[in-house]
């Protein structure tokens, strides 16, 4: 589904990523880990088209994508409701949303345990509630490929667990391909997941059990 071939990214003289080559298949759940400034976010920005590689090729099958950026560049202080933000995640949008679209938004708000916020102003929400709204925006178009860049940073631990359960359900039931950038692998990972450790280059790429051996071999991520 996704293929990176000899991909490098330079910002001026600064080398952010070099010689990145890997591929993932439909239905894979890939966790990307690595220290601060290691190029994890750059790696996914290439995938969603927000950056172009300095050299190399990226091939992505033309499928519906969902994306939760790491640093939300969103201006949450604007006058806009939760509904308006989530609706902007639909692949096709109309001037007047349909009843079906509204009820789909309601059901996602229920799943994310914020059912009362449909008409609430984004600026009144806590950071965690805003994060849940942006997660729904990423999921609302039922993507085949979901890219999450530190999605749980503002979520409380009990909901974090439920959120990962939901992701695994989506992966199993709908064969959703999920790419997940994280600092905290322990919450999220299962044995059948793939893990990539990035620090300018790919230092490790394999299954979670293999990654544990790699870590015991003296490599650590923060």
């Amino acid at each position: 589904m996704i293929q990176y071939q000899d991909v490098s990214v330079n910002f001026g003289k600064f080398n952010v990523l070099s010689d990145i080559t890997f591929s993932i298949q439909k239905g894979d759940f890939l966790h990307i880990v690595g220290p601060n400034g290691s190029g994890k976010t750059t790696l996914v920005k290439l995938l969603v088209g927000l950056l172009s590689p300095s050299s190399g090729n990226i091939t992505v099958r033309n499928v519906q994508m969902g994306y939760l950026p790491q640093k939300l560049t969103t201006k949450v202080n604007l006058p806009m409701t939760v509904f308006e933000v989530i609706y902007s995640g639909f692949a096709k949008q109309r001037l007047k949303p349909s009843k079906e679209e509204c009820s789909l938004i309601h059901s996602w708000l229920d799943i994310m345990e914020i059912p009362q916020l449909f008409n609430e102003s984004m600026s009144y929400l806590s950071g965690g509630q805003q994060q849940r709204v942006f997660l729904i925006r990423a999921l609302i178009s039922n993507p085949e490929l979901l890219i999450l860049d530190e999605p749980t940073s503002a979520l409380d631990p009990s909901f974090r667990e439920k959120f990962y359960e939901l992701l695994y359900r989506l992966q199993q039931d709908q064969q959703m391909t999920i790419i997940h950038v994280t600092h905290d692998l322990t919450d999220a990972v299962k044995n059948n997941c793939k893990v990539m450790y990035v620090d300018q280059k790919i230092k490790f790429f394999g299954t979670y059990p293999e990654f544990q051996q790699f870590e015991h071999g003296g490599h650590h991520h923060d």
Binding site: V48, G49, T74, L78, M80, E84, N119, E120
Partner: protein, 270 residues
């Protein structure tokens, strides 16, 4: 009051006022809430030079001024996309240079018959038939643009990166928005004035966002309040023989001040 409605210049003023109020209120949230409020002010300075150039080169100044200001708006947009110049600086650069050129043209232009003061404050009661037609044309173009691209423009306003991810053609839509703003500003400069036209863009969404939770309602309340304020401005300014543009701006300021003062009391009682 009804008596003076029979005068053609009053009817023209009402048509132009309503068309400009609609145009400005439609543009307002997409510029002001996107930290581009000053583009209206900058383009007003550019249109000062554009109109003077138009007067010197053509019998109908707008035919020169409109493309001149539209080009300047595209230049501002282009400069602000470069890595070394941010949006504010781009507006400041282009508007200051244009204004300087305008002043030189006024000084050196032979047979120049418009006073600088009339350019700065404008006069809606001396507007021509061409002003009226162009006001209506610009309001129709802006209405169509906002209606067709509303969802994409909203996404660009609150999350530009996500809009890029969602394959919204942000550059193209940004350029069209800038060009339509330029078109509106040129028409507005002649009637409302160089120094005041930007207020028509800045105030609507600032006032309406005091009262609304949603982006859509901010847009709608901005349109309604602008209609009322612009019409009130025309009706108050004419009998008192004071400039219409200034009256409208003062009315906007009063409504904003009242909104800010009343809002906390209103919230307490809801």
């Amino acid at each position: 009051m009804i008596d003076f409605l029979q005068y053609e210049f009053i009817q023209n003023a009402i048509f132009i006022g309503v068309a400009l109020a609609l145009s400005a209120a439609l543009l307002s949230p997409f510029l002001v809430l996107n930290q581009q409020a000053m583009i209206a002010d900058g383009l007003a300075h550019v249109s000062f030079a554009g109109v003077i150039l138009g007067v010197l080169l053509s019998s109908e100044a707008l035919y020169i001024a409109i493309p001149f200001v539209m080009l300047a708006s595209l230049l501002i947009k282009y400069l602000s996309t470069t890595k070394t110049i941010n949006g504010d600086a781009a507006i400041g650069l282009v508007s200051a240079v244009s204004f300087a050129i305008g002043l030189i043209l006024v000084k050196k232009g032979q047979g120049f018959s418009i006073s600088v003061e009339s350019m700065l404050v404008g006069n809606i009661f001396t507007a021509t038939q061409a002003d009226m037609i162009l006001s209506i044309v610009v309001s129709i173009l802006i209405s169509l643009f906002i209606i067709v691209f509303y969802r994409k423009l909203f996404l660009m306003t609150y999350d530009l990166n996500y809009a890029k991810f969602a394959k919204v053609r942000v550059q193209l839509l940004g350029y069209v928005l800038a060009a339509l703003t330029a078109f509106f500003i040129v028409i507005g400069v002649r009637t409302i004035g160089t120094l005041l036209i930007s207020a028509l863009v800045v105030f609507p969404s600032i006032i309406s966002s005091q009262w609304t939770k949603s982006f859509k309602n901010t847009l709608i309340l901005g349109i309604v309040s602008s209609f009322l304020i612009v019409l009130m401005g025309i009706f108050i300014a004419h009998p008192l023989e004071i400039p219409v543009g200034s009256t409208i701006v003062v009315l906007y300021a009063i409504v904003l001040l009242l909104s800010i003062m009343i809002k906390p009391l209103w919230r307490k009682n809801v």
